[in-house]
């Protein structure tokens, strides 16, 4: 059972790694912002599987933290793009 669960965790991580190809290639920055979503969901799934496979309930807490921080990272990605699009009030006035 443990082997199956770790295998599933590896498969999901491999899927997330494949998805990273899209993040690297872009073509737009919006594609890049999905990185935290991709790794957040995949990482949480992999960690939950590892927690059950290794009988270590505290790993569930790591998954919980990862879920919170992936959400925060997404907001940080979006913010850094927006603040660049309109760096100051002068730039908006020029438009």
């Amino acid at each position: 059972m443990a082997s199956f669960l770790i295998g599933a965790a590896g498969f999901i991580l491999a899927m997330a790694a494949l998805g990273l190809v899209r993040i690297i290639r872009g073509p737009t920055e919006t594609d890049r912002m999905m990185a935290a979503q991709l790794l957040g969901t995949g990482g949480v799934a992999a960690l939950l599987l590892l927690a059950v496979a290794s009988h270590t309930p505290s790993i569930v807490d790591v998954a919980l933290l990862l879920a919170l921080l992936a959400a925060f990272a997404s907001v940080a990605f979006v913010r850094s793009t927006v603040s660049r699009a309109a760096p100051s009030s002068d730039a908006t006035a020029l438009k």
Partner: protein, 313 residues
């Protein structure tokens, strides 16, 4: 066992690939995203090394807060990015070779371990029950090596002082230059209203379980800091000016309480940072709770940066 090893090999290759991307990416923005992804993956690697406490810290501080700091700096510095001149190829090759040599030397140290494995785990476990704690890492941090932890708090405070002192004179006591959403975004505001209550609960939970299970004041404080930053970014609450008294009090309350209990140790237990027998756990909980508040505020202010404008009257 072979499945687990295959998992570790895959994770290791992925880690190295993402790290390579972070070093080699063309744009700083892409490199920073790679760094955040790397941090999330590294947390999984720490789990595989049976270091759950470290995994929590790496995810919260190593990836979360550091990544956000680098992202906002990258967004600001983007205008001058093309100006940088890359190093010449011969230099890159030479540096590459020397770095590879260093890696090989370290790898050799890993591949040929000493015959006698040195460990402090039995010693740490032997006296852990006296402290009332169940988590050996918390035991090391707050009982055996509490001086390190106290000094680490001093480092955080000094870093904050250093960041603040970079402000131009006219902005001293002003508002940190954390970039917030100029136009209020309804979705983001909704997010910043709904996530922090959950996050605060998780942060307090992290600190509370830290006594017996992986977790603790650092991880909990980092979660609180992240939630505070989210609220400030969304524009729900203003970034407070650094001159504000309540905020400065919150920044120092943890280290001051820690130091006070440490000094009280001279009278109560006969040693600096000693706890009176039987009362170790209540003292440690008081230290952890106040530290968590201070860590949250300090991390948030470090991420917000030096003051860049003064409070409008």
């Amino acid at each position: 066992m072979t499945v687990a090893l295959a998992f570790d090999i895959g994770l290791g290759i992925l880690l190295l690939a993402v790290a390579g991307w972070a070093v080699a990416a063309c744009s700083t923005y892409a490199a920073t995203i790679a760094f955040i992804v790397y941090g999330l993956l590294l947390a999984i690697a720490w789990v595989r090394l049976f270091a759950v406490d470290v995994a929590l810290t790496e995810a919260a501080i190593g990836s979360g807060v550091t990544g956000m700091l680098l992202l906002s700096a990258a967004a600001r510095l983007r205008v001058i990015e093309p100006a940088a001149v890359a190093a010449g190829t011969p230099l890159r090759i030479a540096v590459g070779i020397s770095c590879a040599l260093i890696s090989v030397a370290l790898a050799a140290a890993i591949l040929f371990p000493p015959d006698v494995v040195f460990t402090l785990a039995p010693a740490a476990m032997a006296h852990l029950p006296e402290s009332g704690l169940g988590n050996p890492v918390a035991g090391v941090l707050f009982v055996y090596r509490s001086l390190d932890t106290l000094l680490e708090k001093a480092v955080l405070l000094l870093a904050l002082l250093g960041v603040w002192s970079l402000a131009p004179d006219r902005f001293w006591g002003g508002i940190p230059g954390l970039q917030v959403y100029r136009q209020r975004n309804a979705i983001l505001i909704f997010f910043a209203q709904i996530l922090p209550p959950l996050g605060i609960m998780v942060g307090i939970y992290m600190t509370w379980v830290g006594a017996d299970h992986p977790g603790g004041a650092f991880q909990g404080g980092a979660v609180l800091a992240v939630m505070w930053i989210l609220v400030m970014i969304a524009g729900l609450r203003d970034v407070p000016p650094i001159g504000q008294r309540w905020m400065r009090l919150l920044v120092v309350v943890g280290p001051v309480v820690f130091l006070a209990i440490g000094l009280a140790g001279f009278a109560l237990a006969g040693a600096f940072l000693g706890y009176p027998a039987g009362y170790a756990k209540p003292f440690i909980i008081v230290i952890e709770v106040t530290l968590q508040i201070s860590i949250a505020v300090t991390l948030g202010l470090l991420a917000a940066g030096p003051p860049e404008r003064i409070q409008p009257q």
